[in-house]
């Protein structure tokens, strides 16, 4: 999906770029594909519509047009917008300050409230050191109370003894009493599933809410939910002050647009996600992952990397042009050194290259260490901007100044100067041979300035 979506978008934008100007209609056409992708992922229509409106202004921007791969850049813009909606700083569960604090679990039938109640209880016990009492207020579904009790037994979590025929509001009262008498920190209240349009049951829920004033009122929602996610979330939000959403069955293969819809409608953060049938299958929510799923991308991290790569590609192309003429200066060298450190330093970089095991050994013998790059960077930083642009300016007294400024020796400064000269000579030669390999191989093709002479142009 991602490949086809970005492929289609690339095509559209390629055509447009050649024409030079981008009209609103053209962008609309491209964004239609994005809209379909969002709707196929079950993002609610109003949410999708507003999202498209928001990214449109960015999509006509320079960033996209100048990009090597505009299609991917548009997706990145959409992706970032998705993450922005989905993300939140306030994702941790509240811990009761005045025990016992109540956690109210609400949602539609079959959304996974009972299992999630047990999961969160276990989470509170293990991660937050809380003493938790669970109580099921579900008198509607046969054996629902039984289910929570059994889950409690399995996980070693205390549940409120079941009294047949007691109405939910009475059970609530009893649970809170037992909570304070038993010295519990938290009381987990698992309610019956109800339709948001069921007036009587929603009123009952509101009454329970008013009685316990929960510290967390969590809407449990199925990740597979379709367009109705908005209605449900909105209606629950109207009746109760929801503090968060728990998304269940994220281990399924649904694209999870419901997460976005509910987050956008209610403004409630998605606090945790359920990722399996076992009680420990509950995880923190990562906006980028869901955003990636919504766009149909397997792994978003790789996409963002790809985009970044393409940015560096442009950079590399610019460098290559300069290098071809043998006109690299210390600014370019500094850029390259920065790239090397970005990639985890020399050893990290060497680890990524195939077949360098042997060389690595040689390098250790030759005393090539990580600090060398730092030293070289320090030397360049100690130069004036004019010196960086015109290395020829650097003569004896300047060398002394630079060495003193960077805490190195004149010999080391000389070494670096020589490296640049060698590099430029070599590049000039290679430039005459054709630069095809250069831009493609980027950094390695340009020779690595961090290496002692002789290692350049590996």
């Amino acid at each position: 999906m991602f490949d086809s979506l970005s492929g289609r978008l690339n095509e559209v934008f390629e055509g447009l770029k050649r024409r030079g100007t981008l009209k609103e209609n053209d962008v609309d056409l491209a964004l239609r594909d994005v809209r379909i992708a969002l709707l196929e992922a079950d993002v609610a229509l109003p949410v999708a519509r507003d999202l498209i409106k928001k990214v449109k202004s960015e999509a006509v921007g320079e960033k996209v047009l100048k990009s090597v791969t505009p299609g991917q850049m548009v997706i990145k813009v959409v992706h970032d917008a998705l993450v922005e909606i989905l993300g939140s700083d306030d994702i941790k569960l509240q811990i009761p300050l005045n025990p016992p604090g109540a956690y109210l679990m609400v949602g539609l039938q079959g959304s996974g409230k009972t299992t999630t109640s047990a999961k969160i209880s276990q989470y509170l016990i293990e991660k937050e050191n809380q003493k938790v009492l669970m109580a099921s207020l579900d008198v509607a579904r046969p054996a629902a109370q039984e289910q929570l009790k059994i889950l409690g037994e399995q996980a070693g979590i205390t549940t409120l003894p079941i009294i047949e025929g007691q109405p939910p509001i009475e059970i609530t009262k009893r649970a809170m009493q037992a909570g304070s008498l038993g010295g519990y920190d938290a009381v987990m209240l698992d309610t019956a599933g109800r339709l948001a349009i069921d007036e009587a049951l929603m009123a009952e829920l509101a009454a329970i809410y008013a009685q316990v004033k929960p510290i967390e009122t969590l809407l449990i929602a199925d990740a597979m939910t379709g367009q109705d996610a908005v209605n449900t979330a909105e209606q629950f939000k109207q009746r109760l002050d929801l503090t968060g959403i728990i998304l269940t069955r994220v281990d399924g293969d649904s694209r999870g647009g419901a997460a976005l819809s509910m987050r956008a409608t209610t403004g409630c953060p998605i606090k945790l996600i359920g990722t399996g049938e076992k009680l420990d299958a509950i995880e923190n929510f990562h906006p980028e992952r869901i955003a990636g799923r919504i766009l149909g991308m397997g792994d978003v991290v790789s996409l963002v990397e790809r985009v970044n790569e393409s940015v560096e590609e442009e950079e590399a192309e610019r460098l290559a042009a300069k290098a071809k003429k043998g006109q690299m200066d210390f600014n370019d060298m500094a850029d390259q050194l920065r790239q090397v450190t970005n990639m985890g330093g020399l050893s990290g970089l060497m680890g990524m290259l195939p077949g360098v095991g042997k060389m690595k050994k040689q390098m250790t013998e030759a005393n090539v260490d990580e600090k060398m790059i730092l030293h070289q960077q320090a030397i360049i930083q100690s130069m004036t901007s004019r010196e960086r642009l015109k290395p020829k300016l650097i003569q004896a007294s300047r060398k002394r100044r630079i060495a003193a400024g960077s805490g190195t020796t004149v010999q080391e400064v000389n070494k670096l100067l020589k490296q640049l000269t060698t590099l430029n000579k070599m590049m000039k030669k290679m430039g005459k041979m054709g630069n095809k390999g250069l831009s493609r191989h980027g950094l390695s093709g340009l020779g690595m300035p961090g290496f002692p002479p002789g290692f350049g142009g590996v």
């Binding site: 809209r35 109003p46 079959g110 959304s111 039984e146 289910q147 449900t232 069955r249």
Partner: protein
């Protein structure tokens, strides 16, 4: 523009647009000609009902090609749209028919977690026992806590025998045992309730495959009906559900649950179009009477919001 102001505006816009759209298509067309804008809004209404973007745009295209009178009434357009959807749904509306020649008639229910399998089994049991048939319930959900207890409550309500095993027991062997028992005690309808499973979990789907295989050992024709229970609030993922469950079990039809909520279950239209899979019944409430035969026309009307008007 700060992100906060954008978010708050988005939210405001949302409440506005959704309240506008819940008013139904009728509002879209009142006193207006069927222009491109109206067609787009109809398409959006269909998307909001979970028909999915491609199905919705296909229907909208057909609608735009149809020449309506200049000042066509909104209701007439909606009727036409209802007709289009009914055409897709009509062939798949197939009630679940009891076959007395099968002794017993074996019905296997499958589906993802929380779709309403056990409740559906309970409702089916009630409908059959009301007609004087001897029903047996097999609790082949040996995983979920209290699944057996839940089915036992239904057994008591309907005076049906419940066959069960302890939690963690082999579901397939329980199914086998239940068929043997049903054959020997003259049960007419055997309802086998399985554990909920996400269709992308290989090991759980393999377990289901085994259940079917073992059932076939006793009766190669069984299960006579294999019902996939689908939650109406499910969005486009329903397509993947049908696809995967069909690969694993001989699905004969769908039962769509929770249609009494605000979800419209429009993904059924996409399913009907893609898989031609029969829809046996719809669940519109918690009691046994609320499990009703699927009526293509009624369903289509509710999708386009016509039933409010007529």
């Amino acid at each position: 523009m700060s992100s906060e102001s954008w978010l708050s505006r988005l939210r405001k816009g949302l409440s506005k647009s959704s309240s506008r759209l819940t008013e139904g298509v009728t509002a879209v067309l009142t006193g207006r000609r069927l222009d491109a804008e109206a067609i787009e809004e109809l398409e959006e209404t269909l998307i909001l009902a979970d028909l999915g973007p491609s199905m919705a745009s296909r229907l909208a295209r057909t609608l735009s090609q149809k020449r309506f009178e200049k000042n066509v009434e909104s209701r007439e357009v909606l009727r036409f749209l209802t007709g289009l959807i009914t055409e897709v749904l009509e062939p798949i509306a197939t009630p679940l028919i009891y076959r007395s020649d099968k002794k017993p008639h074996i019905i296997l229910t499958v589906g993802v977690n929380g779709s309403g399998k056990t409740t559906t089994v309970g409702k089916l049991a009630q409908q059959h026992t009301k007609k004087g048939r001897k029903v047996m319930l097999a609790a082949a959900d040996t995983f979920r806590a209290a699944a057996v207890e839940q089915l036992e409550v239904w057994g008591n309500r309907t005076c049906s025998t419940v066959v069960s095993a302890e939690t963690g027991a082999d579901a397939a062997s329980l199914a086998y045992k239940s068929i043997e028992q049903a054959k020997s005690d003259g049960t007419q309808v055997l309802l086998i309730d399985t554990a909920g499973r996400l269709h992308n979990k290989g090991n759980l789907m393999a377990e289901l495959e085994k259940i079917v295989r073992v059932i076939k050992k006793i009766d190669p024709e069984a299960p006579h009906d294999c019902v996939l229970v689908l939650d109406a609030t499910t969005g486009q993922n329903a397509i993947a559900q049908v696809e995967f469950f069909q690969k694993t079990a001989p699905i004969t039809g769908l039962i769509v649950t929770k249609l009494d909520g605000s979800a419209k279950g429009g993904v059924l239209v996409a399913l009907a179009d893609k898989f031609k899979i029969p829809v046996h019944a719809v669940g519109v409430g918690e009691t046994a009477e609320d499990l009703q035969p699927f009526e293509a026309h009624d369903f289509a009307e509710s999708l386009v919001g016509l039933e409010i008007e007529c």
